[in-house]
Symmetry: C2
Subunit: 200 residues, 2 copies
DNA sequence: CCAGCTATATGATTCAAATCATATATCTAT
DNA sequence: ATAGATATATGATTTGAATCATATAGCTGG
């Protein structure tokens, strides 16, 4: 339960999805907010041209559709990337409780500011054209450690906007450069840990 | 004033920055929240390795450091990319008012969900490798109309992660393809407005 | 009003990453 | 345990966008 502080006031239920099953589809009315308990949910958006693009991958402990709290319709589709357990909350119920309990709303606000920061960082990573530099910058951004250490390399590649083949190759080069170490598909950065950056 | 609904309760002052001047520096205690009135502010982050990366460029009407509302220290530096006017709000004052007025907090929440969505959209655009398709997708996303119609082409190019030369060329091609029309540096999309996508 | 800066524009060239192809390893479901 | 799907890996080739270069137009500040 990601909204642990809401445990007693917000009702929820758990659902199970098999690989590829849809949680919701782009355009659906926003009725629920979700959090991933186990597995992963891919958010995919169909562009005007019909090319689907991966917008986000949510892993255990991550919430989904918070960004749609004020939207009538989902702006992307959500489907299970593997067998996945999801907790379901009612959007309207959540909105009501937030209105009643400002301190809970404040928590949500905090969560969203973090999301904004992460997304900006990702945006900038995507602006880097040099593969080595891009990968190193991604590895430097911490946010791959916590929740994403078990992310398939292929998904990381897509996340940072790079062909997966290039990603595999770049990892190999970085390894032989001594910049990283690898253990199976775990990537371990090998760098002098600069101190003085604890503030993040 | 970006927090127009707070106009009467939240004090603010305006400051002027010359090109290159710092608004705040990474690691500084977060005392203020800002919004850009005129010009642009670059957010730059020094990574662990010391390589500075551009995290975001905020233009007129954009707020800065909302994402730092709950941080003790700024996670990046902000400096003027050109001569810039900035409105300054006190973080603590803002936090206090938000706590007292849940409806204002709700507004901020809504703003942040919009930001998250925009950032995800931008992320998606950046994942498109084909220049024509990328530009068309950007043009299809509305968010260039409202606030960014007067954004220099060069800045748009950077925003969507493309060399400005390529952007100029692509615009020219799209124009001769009849896909867009141009008036000075105003870009006008000429497409059958795809219906069924109103929800976004 | 002028000088200097910045944006726009476009040509030529390079090159690195996308793409295509194929093979093997690994996971997953039954 | 096995089959099918998916991830990882790597080679060969192509391509299109970055880069470098240069020119002009348009702003902006003093």
């Amino acid at each position: 339960m990601i909204y642990s502080e809401l445990q007693n006031v917000l009702s929820s239920k758990t659902i199970h999805l098999k690989t590829g099953e849809h949680l919701f589809t782009q355009g659906d009315a926003v009725k629920n907010i979700y959090s991933v308990k186990k597995g992963r949910i891919k958010l995919i958006r169909d562009t005007l041209e019909g090319t689907p693009t991966l917008v986000h991958v949510a892993y255990a402990e991550e919430s989904i559709a918070e960004a749609s709290l004020f939207s009538k319709n989902y702006h992307c589709s959500a489907l299970a990337g593997t067998n996945t357990e999801v907790t379901v909350y009612s959007k309207n119920e959540l909105l009501k409780i937030l209105q009643e309990k400002p301190e809970l709303m404040m928590n949500l606000l905090r969560r969203l500011t973090t999301q904004v920061r992460d997304l900006r960082m990702l945006n900038e990573i995507k602006s880097i054209y040099n593969a080595k530099e891009k990968v190193l910058t991604y590895l430097a951004t911490e946010f791959h450690r916590d929740n994403e250490s078990d992310l398939p390399l292929k998904d990381i590649a897509q996340k940072i906007g790079m062909a997966h083949e290039t990603f595999y190759r770049t990892l190999k080069v970085l390894e032989s450069d001594g910049k990283i170490k690898r253990n199976k598909s775990q990537i371990i950065k090998r760098m002098a840990t600069a101190s003085g950056c604890e503030g993040y």
